[in-house]
Subunit: 246 residues, 2 copies
């Protein structure tokens, strides 16, 4: 069966963020969603949506980002009808709140919602559906829970290395090994990995839990330079000044 997914990975250089565009090409409306859009690249993303003839219906975040301002609020002002989505556990503003086990449909393609707290309390991983009419191999949009050969820090926003270890091992490493891992960031120029690869070669998460916690406790990272701007803004879809529009 031919894959019906239109898929684009888009990069924002300043914060090394990946935004993902997914759409169902066989549905007459070509319904689409964006995962983790960035405010400064919204115009690029919306131009692409238009050129591909897609109908954007959701702007989704994996979590409340600390390193860039989400584009979801801005998208809503530019494309009427788009709904923003985030986890209920994030306590952020959005049109729709999702919980573990929920499914987000665009046409016949869906994303399954998995709770992967640890980087933040409300972090989600979105995984494409299980079934012959869904993309093969499956694709996991892991946000900052699992990065390629790395993971998000656990020292802010309700982070917990203990929780993150359990999240990745129970919710991501249990997926088929050929599942494609698409993270929210990459700093070394990688674009994709697989579950099997990360189980073997992730220098943090391939270790036992105590070693992992020890690694995370000793990262000695500096204070995130964007956090005091990005987090308050992202709690309200990236548009602090226009709360009434949300």
């Amino acid at each position: 069966m031919p894959c019906k997914l239109i898929f684009r990975q888009l990069f924002e250089k300043e914060s090394s963020t990946y935004t993902y565009l997914l759409a169902d090409s066989l549905h007459p409306d070509k319904p689409a969603l964006l995962i983790d859009p960035v405010d400064r690249t919204v115009d690029r993303d919306l131009a692409l949506v238009k050129e591909l003839g897609l109908k954007l219906i959701y702007a989704i975040n994996t979590h409340v980002h600390a390193d860039h301002v989400t584009g979801s609020g801005l998208i809503k002002t530019k494309v009427p009808g788009v709904k923003s989505i985030i986890s209920k556990a994030s306590n952020a503003k959005a049109d729709l709140f999702v919980e573990p086990g929920d499914k987000i449909y665009i046409g016949d393609i869906y994303l399954e919602v998995r709770a992967t707290p640890g980087h933040t309390l409300g972090c989600l991983t979105y995984v494409t559906g299980d079934g012959v009419n869904q993309p093969q191999p499956r694709m996991a949009f892991t946000g900052d829970a699992l990065l390629i050969r790395g993971c998000g820090r656990t020292d802010f926003q309700g982070g917990s290395s203990d929780k993150l270890y359990d999240s990745v091992h129970s919710q991501i490493f249990t997926l088929p090994k050929d599942t494609l891992v698409y993270p929210a960031h990459d700093y070394k120029g990688f674009t994709v990995s697989t579950v099997g690869e990360e189980m073997l070669y992730n220098p943090r998460l391939s270790k036992d839990k105590e070693t992992f916690k020890n690694i995370m406790q000793n990262l000695n990272l500096s204070y995130p330079k964007m956090i005091d701007i990005a987090v308050p803004s992202n709690m309200v879809c990236g548009l602090q000044e226009t709360k009434s529009d949300l």
Copy 2:
């Protein structure tokens, strides 16, 4: 038939260069090639080759780059047996020289060589094979001949806007419209396009030839900052000092 291709797109931030790793996963040796490796990311690329259990056999360039030093010579010093490949028309050094119509095999998967001069005289586009046991849709590695919504400049290294227009229209725009376009660079965060998209939306190459030539003549670009280092170096596989190793 399942796709047998292992494929990775890798990004080098400094020069915004994409390197591509392709391998045949079903062949017992998992033979692999790299297209347009960059000297400064060779260690990253070779670590990935090793982790994926691949046997690197070719380091290929689309052309003599002016903006970064190729990694092909360095790879040859680190992985014995790897052969460097470039076009005969480039007049650069390499182990193997290819011409239009040649096929480069890794296991059962092959790249077809197409001449796409215009950015430089020796520019090639490598296209995955035509057939049910080849990747579907086809993939075109276009170097600087065709960029996403753009193209390489034509004012250096034997460049010609007249030739570039003919190259893209006769060698790339004649491919199936769903052919994936993977360029050597992107500066806006795009990772892939399609032939159909570029035929419609490329702001330069969707125009008629006279308009295109006029656009290219009036770009007013500054002198490429790396050209005096990169070009002489890339003429000898990126390793000027150790010509005897090549």
